[in-house]
């Protein structure tokens, strides 16, 4: 009991241990971290400018000079992948975080006030969720237009209900817990109970949602960019790189141009899925 090297929370240690012993989750985390580091520090790994057009070097095969070859206007593919990853991952992570934040705020308001406010917010979330998300995204892109910021806004609009519903339902059930009543018996005010006691208890599953939805948004961005509705084609993103390779001749003769970004997208979202599943196992009290 009184040993010196006691860890503050054995629960945290147990959870960490559980996560670390899940090999698939670790592999997922490794892939994700690798891709994030490669993109974030792109200038360290490549000397090329992803937008520099050099027609004399067009459609090179992979070589030591150009690791993955060049595209049809002579831009280095490896550089484009790294810099493209920056934009794609940025959109994914930021959208997931903002969507979760919005969901948490609205969910707390809903759970805290209850009654009519809760009902209205719940209906709004149901309306959003009743549309197939891809269709809703397409419609919203039609209204707002292309662009990184617009994509983040759109993903937030489409994505907040999942967090909202979890937070709301968690708070509704936590509200009935005895520790809330004992807080009230100690004279602690409603807002303080809400934000200091209910919300922290409800946050666990949100981490999982953020992880999994980041992968989803990266995929969605790629899909939108591929059909020309995502980020402007001048900005390299993983979706835009594939879009640029959309040409029968290139598809047949230069597979690296579309296989490489495809693999990057798949690896990233697969890695996040593995990691997210691992996190879910940790947060799942049933296990």
């Amino acid at each position: 009991m009184g040993s010196k090297n006691r860890v503050k929370s054995s629960l945290m240690r147990r959870n960490l241990h559980k996560l670390l012993s899940n090999r698939l989750a670790l592999v997922g985390l490794g892939i994700v971290l690798l891709l994030v580091v490669l993109s974030a520090f792109a200038p360290l790994f490549t000397k090329y400018d992803p937008s520099f057009i050099d027609v004399s070097q067009r459609l090179q095969k992979p070589s030591m000079e150009h690791l993955l070859g060049t595209d049809n206007v002579g831009r280095d593919l490896f550089a484009r992948l790294l810099y493209g990853g920056r934009v794609s991952i940025f959109i994914g992570i930021v959208s997931a975080l903002i969507a979760a934040a919005v969901g948490i705020i609205i969910g707390s308001v809903s759970g805290y006030f209850g009654g009519k406010i809760d009902m209205v917010l719940l209906y709004i979330s149901e309306i959003v969720m009743s549309f197939p998300s891809m269709i809703l995204v397409l419609v919203l892109v039609g209204f707002l237009g292309q662009g990184i910021l617009n994509l983040i806004i759109i993903f937030t609009v489409v994505g907040w209900p999942s967090t909202y519903r979890i937070i709301r339902s968690r708070i509704l059930s936590l509200r009935e817990e005895l520790f809330v009543e004992s807080c009230r018996a100690s004279g602690i005010g409603g807002a303080s109970i809400m934000f200091n006691h209910l919300l922290p208890n409800a946050l666990g599953p949100v981490v999982v949602i953020i992880t999994l939805s980041t992968g989803g948004y990266v995929l969605a961005e790629a899909g939108l960019s591929f059909i020309g509705l995502g980020v402007a084609s001048s900005v390299p993103t993983w979706g835009n790189i594939i879009n640029a390779a959309r040409n029968l001749r290139i598809m047949q003769n230069f597979p690296a141009l579309w296989v490489a970004p495809g693999v990057a997208i798949s690896l990233f979202s697969l890695g996040l899925s593995f990691f997210g599943d691992g996190l879910r196992d940790v947060f799942d009290p049933e296990e």
Binding site: M1, G2, R6, K8, S9, S10, L11, E177, L178, F179, E181, S182, C183, R184, A185, S186, G187, I188, G189, G190, S192, N196, H197, P200, N201
Partner: protein, 336 residues
């Protein structure tokens, strides 16, 4: 009776709306809590003892409301607060809750927030009511934990609730309730969820705290043994009414109400020797949503008379503070 009364409950009525039905959980409950004493509220499950306690603090669920009576609390300056007239989340009530009147709940396992250390939960209550620095709060919490029998309070301060056993958690709950040195402590079946050996420990601790801090305590329990062990005065509740009220000797030596007698007979006594069978009370508690014309205990009582089924009994004063709600004693009572 004397000026030492700290809490006075007069004709308290609490009702719950369950669908279309109205459940009368507390009917006309009146009692007084004297300063520095321990009052036991005894009764079987569902008789309204917890609701009485929650009504005092106005901690009723949304479908419950106090429909009549008064809960008067006299603070240190002798000022009377009529608690049931404050709004349920009003500032006045919140400054009284936890600081002047605090409460311990039945299930210590669920009464602590799992995401905070127990130290921060105890000092949260302290810092809610007293304007003191973190360091002072830490010191107060540590000395309180030490008083409650934690041998290494500085380390325990940083532990989470899951690191504690049930008895330890209940001690933490006592720490939370006692940290502001309240005038009244309401303990709602504090030992029901604990095993027998720990029960004794917690009760001893509560008696000790009550004596050293002079806290007036309301102990809610269904266990007559616990009452005999710790309380000064006893209120026996049946179907939301106090059927008998008196001090410990009066209730245990000269029980008057058939229900009290039956309760006392249903307590196992180890030293009784031989094969004495425990008695039980036949029948079940009636439905709280039905309006009973006569005495609610009439169907289960051995001494039921004609009048018991038709008229609600009136209170008879047996002697001094000893009062009973039963037609059997109507003739002898002065209040009849």
């Amino acid at each position: 009776m004397n000026e030492e009364i700290i809490l006075k409950v007069e004709n308290l009525q609490t009702k719950f709306r369950v669908g279309k039905r109205i459940v009368h959980a507390v009917n006309d409950v009146s009692f007084e809590l004297k300063k520095g004493t321990m009052l036991g509220i005894v009764g079987e499950s569902g008789c309204g003892k917890s609701v009485t306690a929650h009504s005092i603090m106005k901690l009723l669920p949304k479908n419950g409301s106090i429909t009549g009576g008064k809960v008067k609390y006299y603070d240190n300056n002798g000022k009377a607060h009529i608690l049931n007239e404050y709004d349920r989340n009003s500032k006045e009530l919140r400054t009284i809750r936890g600081k002047e009147i605090s409460m311990i709940f039945q299930d210590p396992l669920a009464s602590l927030d799992p995401v905070y250390t127990i130290g921060s939960q105890i000092s949260e209550n302290l810092r809610e009511h007293e304007n003191i620095s973190k360091k002072e709060a830490f010191d107060r919490v540590v000395s309180m934990l030490f008083e409650l029998g934690f041998s290494n309070p500085e380390e325990r301060y940083y532990d989470y609730p899951h690191n504690f056993s049930g008895g330890m958690k209940q001690r933490v709950m006592i720490a939370i309730a006692m940290i502001c040195n309240p005038n009244i402590l309401i303990a709602d079946e504090p030992t029901t969820a604990l095993d027998v050996t720990i029960q004794a420990q917690i009760l001893t601790l509560m008696s000790k705290m009550q004596k050293t801090h002079g806290t007036s305590t309301i102990l809610i329990t269904h266990n007559m043994g616990i009452v005999a062990e710790t309380c000064d005065e006893v209120a026996v509740i049946y179907m939301g009414r106090i059927v008998e009220f008196g001090n410990l000797e009066q209730i245990f030596n000269t029980p008057m109400h058939p229900y009290t007698k039956a309760l006392l007979k249903s307590v196992p006594v180890l030293s009784s020797g031989g094969e004495k069978r425990l008695e039980y009370i036949p029948g079940a508690t009636p439905d709280g949503s039905e309006v009973i014309k006569g005495c609610a205990f009439a169907d289960r009582c051995k001494h039921t008379m004609e009048i018991c089924r038709t008229k609600q009994p009136v209170e008879s004063i047996v002697d001094g503070s000893h009062r009973v709600l039963c037609w059997l004693y109507d003739k002898g009572g002065k209040n009849a």
